[in-house]
């Protein structure tokens, strides 16, 4: 996805700016994930375009992308709305996570490189700092980053393409459902890292499953 990093942008010199559609898509994702755009809220192309200082065209293209990712719902000729998530849909999401996160963890354990593991550990460090500072917003984003990074380690690009938006949807879910269960979560992450680091596929898969189950249980209690 064009959205993130491009830490390795091999593009031309300097100026090479991202297409506006990507800027808009990223911004829309942020607005939705941060809650500034409420679930069910209608998105008016023209208004968004003016707010972001672009024409409607990049906005429309971004809308197609966000729609494919599940962040918004489009009804032909009737408008686009920020996706909402019913309890049923949340369970649906957990069901899929329960299938994909253990797979991602297993593959990560199989093929992670030391460098990548370092990045994972670094996220964990930043999470500790954020925890101490009580910065919950930051923690939510780090949580997303952590899970995305695990999928990156899987080295399965098809899985990555599916899972990264899924992880973001999950982040959105937590933001809207209730507080985050920060403390538990990160010790589980620690366990997962160790399993991946050890290259223990079975254990990594099991830890990931356990983690998602715990997240679901937590969601159910709060829901």
């Amino acid at each position: 996805m064009a959205g993130m990093s491009d830490s390795s942008s091999p593009d031309t010199l300097g100026a090479a700016h991202l297409p506006l559609r990507d800027v808009v898509a990223t911004e829309l994702r942020r607005l939705i994930l941060s809650g500034e755009l409420a679930p069910g809220e209608r998105l008016i192309e023209d208004r968004l375009a003016q707010q972001m200082g672009v024409s409607r065209n990049p906005v429309r293209e971004a809308i197609r992308v966000l729609s494919a990712e599940g962040f918004i719902e489009v009804t032909a000729r009737r408008g686009t709305f920020v996706a909402s998530m019913s309890a049923v849909e949340a369970m649906n999401l957990f069901e899929v996570r329960l299938a994909l996160e253990p797979l991602g963890a297993r593959l990560a354990a199989r093929s992670a490189t030391p460098e990548q593991l370092g990045q994972l550990a670094e996220i964990l460090d930043r999470a500790r700092v954020a925890t101490d500072a009580g910065n919950l917003d930051s923690l939510a984003e780090l949580n997303t980053e952590f899970h995305s990074q695990v999928f990156q380690l899987s080295a399965n690009s098809y899985l990555i393409g599916m899972a990264v938006p899924m992880v973001k949807r999950a982040q959105w879910l937590f933001r809207h459902s209730a507080a985050n269960r920060a403390p538990h979560s990160w010790t589980e992450h620690q366990d997962l890292i160790e399993a991946i680091q050890a290259g223990d596929e079975e254990l990594a898969e099991s830890e990931a499953r356990h983690h998602v189950l715990a997240a679901r249980a937590s969601f159910l209690r709060l829901g």
Copy 2:
């Protein structure tokens, strides 16, 4: 836009006609799945627009969708190309199928309605006809339909959204890798239907896993 509307639209109450972006997206998918657009081939917006008799705008929006679905690859300012699939990427796809198809089958066994089961059976019937007629193209599409329908039965909309494009990618893979292993495949499908019909979640999951494993093995032999 010349008037081609009359073909399918009752014209009575509003709507009725699909947005061109959807028409274009569907057509592009077909062209790619059928092989009329070869992997790696470059897609020129203007050319596509003219061929389909529309402006570039619907084409561009369709491109965003297809890109999100993984059928094409877009590099900013350098063009869009029909996605190709290396052996590694094919294995990646199978890995994800191996996670999602058993899940879909399990959920289908849990919540399928008789009506839906009828539709599944009907696909199987059509497949028998196509098999007798030796119509391989038809069989490939029916295969896709079958797997998509199983996911539909799962009643998990999030899963459906992910899995349906995945199934189409898999169809594309078979078309490009080698002939389809029609005979085996459909007895496996029969077994899967029976498990779903019986509401046996464990068995359905197991049958689905077995089916995907067999497909992968077949692919590996031919690859």
